[in-house]
């Protein structure tokens, strides 16, 4: 392989003029993490609501929940990204659209909202599965004690369901984190975008991608470790 390796490249100044290539990648990492965390807040909240809707006895609520999941699961994430970024400002009333287009950091907000609603459909699936995995008698016991439906969910069903689905939720969180890279197509300067930019500026393809790869693997390990700690923390004695 006649490729000229240059691992010192990370400490050379990037042509952007504000630091080295290493700084460039780290700022990418920062955007990846911030975007993933913000999107997760939306995904967890919306996903929980949609997941609960799908387990309520009312047909209307179930239909709304099912429609949400089908809609967001059956359109590629990249297409959704374009819909939020290019299409939404055009179909809103003009003043709103203009406001959206002039928003500073628009790629960031778009990525957060898009990923949040997309991941919510996956969280909703897990929440529904978790609630349905509980014995039917748990809901009955809550109801029989006089708890309202909302109270039964809040105090009985959800605390147990979340414990059951912690492992799949961890992998959804990781998917969410990896999916932030799709937002490079709308100009979010996250880790993969920065590695790509580094490759374009320096022609050191493999150093740039190796660095990004190593960083992603480290984040994965950290998330898995933290999830393990949380799992042990919330574990119920005797189960």
């Amino acid at each position: 392989m006649n490729y000229n390796w240059n691992w010192g490249i990370f400490f050379e100044a990037s042509p952007e003029g504000n630091g080295t290539y290493a700084d460039m990648l780290l700022s990418g990492l920062m955007w990846t993490i911030v975007t993933a965390l913000c999107a997760w807040v939306i995904a967890f909240a919306v996903g929980s609501v949609i997941g609960v809707l799908r387990t309520l006895p009312g047909r209307g609520a179930q239909m709304v929940g099912n429609a949400y999941v089908e809609l967001f699961r059956n359109i590629p994430l990249l297409v959704q990204m374009f819909l939020w970024y290019f299409v939404l400002p055009e179909v809103l009333p003009e003043s709103w659209g203009t406001w959206l287009k002039q928003l500073p950091n628009a790629p960031f907000y778009t990525a957060v909202v898009c990923l949040g609603f997309f991941t919510a459909s996956r969280v909703a699936e897990q929440v529904r599965a978790g609630i349905q995995a509980l014995p039917r008698g748990q809901r009955m016991a809550g109801t029989a004690l006089g708890l309202t439906t909302a109270q039964t969910y809040r105090y009985v069903l959800l605390p147990n369901a979340y414990r059951i689905i912690l492992p799949p939720l961890t992998s959804e969180f990781l998917n969410n984190l990896k999916n932030t890279s799709v937002a490079l197509t709308i100009g979010l300067l996250e880790l993969t975008a920065r590695a790509r930019a580094m490759q374009e500026f320096s022609f050191q393809v493999f150093e740039a991608f190796t660095a990004a790869t190593v960083i992603y693997i480290i984040i994965n390990l950290i998330v898995v470790t933290v999830a393990g700690v949380i799992e042990r923390r919330v574990a119920v004695p005797g189960r």
Partner: protein
């Protein structure tokens, strides 16, 4: 209602009528071919990885596990970039040529998706193989079948049938994922839509249309998978 009408009043859907041949015969044809070949390659490779992982031999299970975890830690976009740049060098190394060889966009994406999806397919096949009771392979050995015979005619056929709905669901995910070849400016379905959108300045129409087409295909496909799932469940 008024808002909805105003929304579509300055839409120009003729752009779709004028470009549908390009969208489907160039774009969608690429997308479907890539999906089908990568799914087949991914399942075959994934099954081999799953067998490695369950082989109980030294080293092989660890190698398989490392490969799967490695691939699953990385964003697909990064992997697409990786292979786009790496494959020419690997090709050069294999055939011993002077310079990195030229690999077409299609081959490059096919290799990428096969290797990437194999990690996900292997997890499905692992679950499938493990879902077959131990007694089945014991019975096969007792009848004098070799490992490969027992895998090929006893274990894998059952595992495939049990896992067919999951494999197909993963293929729908793969179909959606192929849209990411957009980052290499390849003319898949989304790439074609995007090119028309830019050329004619019709982003709204083209992206909404692309979304509808993807939705229709994936929604119908997942309905069919669900129906199949019920049938498989009944047979068992």
């Amino acid at each position: 209602m008024g808002l909805g009408l105003a929304m579509f009043s300055n839409f120009d859907f003729s752009v779709i009528l004028n470009s549908w041949r390009y969208l489907f015969f160039d774009g969608m044809a690429f997308t479907l071919t890539l999906t089908a070949l990568a799914a087949i390659g991914g399942v075959v490779l994934g099954t081999l990885i799953a067998m490695m992982r369950l082989s109980g031999l030294p080293v092989l299970p660890q190698v398989a596990k490392a490969y799967v975890n490695f691939m699953r830690s990385l964003p697909l976009v990064l992997v697409i970039f990786w292979f786009y740049f790496l494959v020419p060098y690997i090709g050069q190394w294999i055939i011993g040529s002077e310079r990195p060889i030229q690999v077409g966009a299609f081959s490059s994406s096919l290799i990428t998706f096969t290797l990437f999806e194999a990690a996900y397919f292997s997890e499905i096949m692992r679950a499938g193989i493990q879902s077959i009771p131990k007694g089945q392979s014991a019975a096969a050995s007792a009848l004098g079948l070799t490992y490969w015979q027992s895998m090929g005619s006893i274990i894998l056929p059952q595992a495939f049938r049990n896992m067919l709905p999951v494999l197909l669901t993963q293929t729908i995910v793969l179909f959606q994922d192929t849209s990411l070849v957009y980052v290499l400016s390849i003319t898949d379905f989304l790439g074609a839509a995007s090119k028309i959108a830019q050329r004619d300045g019709r982003l709204v129409e083209m992206y909404v249309f692309a979304a509808i087409v993807y939705f229709a295909i994936c929604f119908i496909a997942s309905l069919l998978v669900r129906r199949l799932q019920r049938r498989v469940a009944i047979i068992r």
